[in-house]
């Protein structure tokens, strides 16, 4: 059983991301994360939330995002839940960085910053659940 550090639920809107980032950063620094590590984690979580807003919900569809952070030993576990239509995880792929174009970096940054990233089976009534782990030990 891990130590819960943060539980947030907020509307899946761009304007909600800044307060969420700041809440996450505060919790990470308080839990002993180095500044640079906290910065990387905040970026990864922000990118994951952006993907929910832009692709899971999409234009014109509203809903919430839930983010929980738990500490389990030397691991931080992040679980992002939405109530959007189910996506096909096999279609979520980072793009080739040699293909220089606007967009498409979010998934790459998430995978680069986190040690583990996987979609897990959502509980009944939920849309998608993304579980990410960062080892800080």
């Amino acid at each position: 059983m891990g130590e819960p550090l943060l539980e947030l639920r907020f509307p899946a809107r761009a304007a909600e991301l800044k307060p969420a980032r700041h809440a996450v950063k505060e919790v990470l620094l308080a839990s002993g994360c180095a500044d640079a590590v906290a910065r990387d984690i905040v970026l990864a979580l922000d990118e994951a939330c952006q993907n929910v807003i832009r692709y899971a919900y999409g234009p014109g569809r509203e809903g919430d995002i839930s983010l929980t952070i738990e500490r389990k030993g030397d691991e931080l576990v992040f679980v992002l839940t939405d109530w959007a239509p189910r996506i096909d995880p096999s279609k979520v792929r980072p793009r080739d960085l040699n293909d220089v174009r606007p967009g498409g970096l979010g998934t790459f940054l998430i995978q680069e910053m986190m040690d583990d990233v996987e979609f897990v089976d959502p509980p009944p009534g939920c849309g998608n659940v993304l579980r990410m782990v960062k080892r800080i030990g």
Binding site: L17, R39, V100, L105, F108, E112
Partner: protein
């Protein structure tokens, strides 16, 4: 996010500060594209940017590509740790022209 655009040394200098994120990157995009339309040299001062994500980077890339097509000189100046980190991860630090200071770019 705050922004300003001024003329200096024959270039348009677009300064951004604060957080260039999903909420504000559409504004950044429009400011940058407008600068590329208006000048033969654009310098983007990111010294005040505390946070930039992939949507902010996309704005820079789109403006850079438009500048390249139009023969407009386009460079980033004064990257702080946050911007530098994201650009290095995306391997865009090798794509953009980057100056340490505005004076270097002018």
């Amino acid at each position: 996010m705050e922004h300003s655009v001024r003329e200096e040394g024959g270039a348009l200098v677009a300064c951004f500060s604060g957080e260039v994120d999903l909420e504000h990157s559409p504004t950044a995009r429009q400011v940058l594209l407008d600068c590329v339309d208006r000048s033969s040299k654009v310098l983007v001062d990111l010294s005040g940017v505390e946070y930039i994500d992939s949507s902010g980077v996309a704005s820079l890339v789109e403006a850079f590509q438009k500048a390249k097509k139009s023969g407009v000189e386009f460079a980033l100046v004064s990257l702080n740790d946050s911007a530098r980190r994201v650009l290095e991860l995306a391997r865009l630090d090798k794509v953009f022209t980057i100056y340490d200071t505005l004076a270097d770019g002018l």
